[in-house]
């Protein structure tokens, strides 16, 4: 129990004093994961909606793939992105391995299947209900996509949050492609892994508490945001 009480005190001290290094780590974590979930959303949402609205060859396979990739292990994504971005890999000339950009790429890859699967699920129902009406109105399927997404905007927010949650919580991918470099690619989760390996268990747990508080804050903000979206 000693560890837990120590951790609570340390976490409180970290938050009250806003230690500059911790602040930097928190900013990077939020920045990388937020950017990655935006990217995953922009790529994944239209694709997920299209999977429900169009009929095309191999559609079933895409849906199966997106759902299967929900369980994609971050460490595998990390390894693939690492091999692609390595100087001896196909994209090595970009020189972005061990940078925050590489971390955004890995977390985007992790977020896309979540967004695709959730947006697809939402669109299937809404398309069944409103699809015919929208097409009768003379809209093409491409144009109908915007009203369909507007109808399901709360589900879109959920999809975005799910992608963000996956990104902010994972350590397996970013520790490989970011390298956990102090003051550069060290995030909340990689810092927790490092402090654990130093045997600083209370401090590691304190960082974990800060991470949970951040997640609560993001979740609460989106709830307020979601209410603002629906209230008219």
């Amino acid at each position: 129990m000693q560890d837990f009480t120590d951790a609570l005190y340390t976490a409180a001290a970290l938050i009250v004093h806003l230690d500059p290094e911790v602040r930097e780590i928190v900013t990077l974590s939020l920045g990388v994961s937020f950017t990655a979930s935006i990217c995953a959303f922009v790529i994944g949402a239209p694709f997920g909606a299209a999977l429900a609205m169009y009929r095309f060859w191999g559609q079933g396979a895409w849906i199966v793939i997106a759902n299967a990739l929900l369980g994609l292990p971050p460490v595998v994504v990390g390894l693939v992105v690492y091999l692609l971005l390595s100087r001896s890999g196909p994209l090595g000339s970009l020189g972005i391995l061990f940078t925050p950009t590489a971390m955004v790429i890995a977390q985007t890859a992790l977020g896309i299947p979540i967004v695709v699967a959730l947006v697809h699920r939402m669109t299937v129902d809404n398309w069944a209900t409103y699809g015919n009406a929208l097409l009768v109105d003379g809209a093409s399927r491409l144009r109908a996509m915007i009203p369909i997404m507007l109808i399901g905007r709360e589900a879109l927010l959920t999809a975005f949050l799910a992608a963000f949650g996956r990104a902010i919580a994972e350590v397996g991918a970013i520790i490989i492609v970011g390298g956990n470099i102090r003051g550069y690619t060290r995030t909340m989760t990689t810092a927790i892994a490092l402090e654990t390996s130093k045997g600083e268990l209370s401090f590691a747990l304190a960082l974990g508490i800060v991470l949970i508080i951040l997640s609560l804050a993001v979740s609460a903000l989106s709830l307020i945001f979601g209410r603002a979206l629906t209230a008219r």
Binding site: F98, G179, R182, L229
Partner: protein
């Protein structure tokens, strides 16, 4: 409905701001910095937290350290993803040089390995020499944690078993656990399971979660632990920042750098002993 465009605009602005911030952060950090692939022991012992700000102040070079373990660090360099390697397994380093990935190896410092185990010492190894101690652990099948990750410490441990006349590949049983992780993780595992474990002294001194563990064997000449540094060969890897990398190596092995390394202490105990001038190291 009218709120939707606002949401889009807000997201677009947020994305733009974050992306810009990230890009700027990257541009700033790319100035005069090198990537050093290194070991978990130098990081977990706190050496880099102490040393790198001084390097930055004295040479202006920002050093980005990847703490990976010797085997993985050398592989990272073989893929051209690092500028300098700073590791501790002379045999593996010489192989790296022979393959042409490095040009020259510079000895930097040494410390020693220690055998850590439960204070009540079920295998009775306290104060024995390391080879006898390993034979006793094997005979009693006392729990032993191995790094199992081709790190410098792991390579040293395997060589010690061999020197003790034990073919660990065949002799290992459920008592011998290869965890495949860094030094700190191995100590955490040993602490939680009251096992024996080989550690470098630096990580042990900095380690905070000792539980019932203590040093049982130390000071044996077999336990010597030499660290070396090498620039990755620019002929093999054109992306290597050879001037900055060499400048970092020159500083580490200079009288000034060597003194700074010697000055690193935890609770008054020196962790690393500089020996850049020893041609045999």
């Amino acid at each position: 409905m009218q709120r939707w465009p606002q949401f889009l605009r807000a997201s677009a602005i947020a994305t733009f701001v974050t992306a810009t911030a990230l890009l700027c952060g990257q541009a700033g950090a790319q100035e005069k910095s090198i990537v050093v692939a290194s070991t978990t022991s130098t990081q977990d012992s706190g050496l880099y937290d102490y040393l790198l700000p001084i390097v930055k102040e004295k040479t202006g070079i920002g050093v980005k350290v990847l703490a990976q373990g010797t085997g993985q660090a050398l592989d990272t360099a073989r893929r051209c993803d690092a500028d300098v390697v700073f590791v501790h397994a002379k045999s593996a380093e010489e192989k790296f040089l022979a393959e042409g990935y490095g040009i020259r190896r510079y000895p930097v410092m040494y410390n020693d390995f220690v055998l850590i185990g439960p204070k009540d010492n079920p295998a009775g190894v306290k104060g024995k020499d390391i080879l006898t101690a390993l034979q006793m652990i094997k005979a009693k099948a006392a729990p032993f944690i191995s790094r199992g990750d081709r790190s410098g410490t792991n390579i040293a441990e395997l060589a010690l078993w061999k020197n003790a006349g034990i073919d660990i590949g065949n002799a290992k049983g459920p008592w011998y656990k290869e965890i495949g992780q860094g030094m700190g993780a191995a100590l955490n595992t040993a602490s939680a399971s009251n096992s024996y474990v080989l550690s470098d002294r630096g990580t042990w001194l900095a380690f905070q979660n000792r539980g019932d563990l203590a040093i049982l064997v130390e000071g044996d000449k077999h336990l010597f632990n030499q660290y070396g540094v090498m620039l990755v060969n620019p002929a093999k890897c054109p992306s290597v920042k050879k001037d900055l990398g060499q400048q970092f190596i020159d500083w580490l092995t200079s009288p000034e750098g060597q003194k700074i390394i010697a000055d690193y202490k935890i609770n008054g105990r020196q962790l690393f002993y500089p020996n850049a001038n020893d041609p045999n190291a």
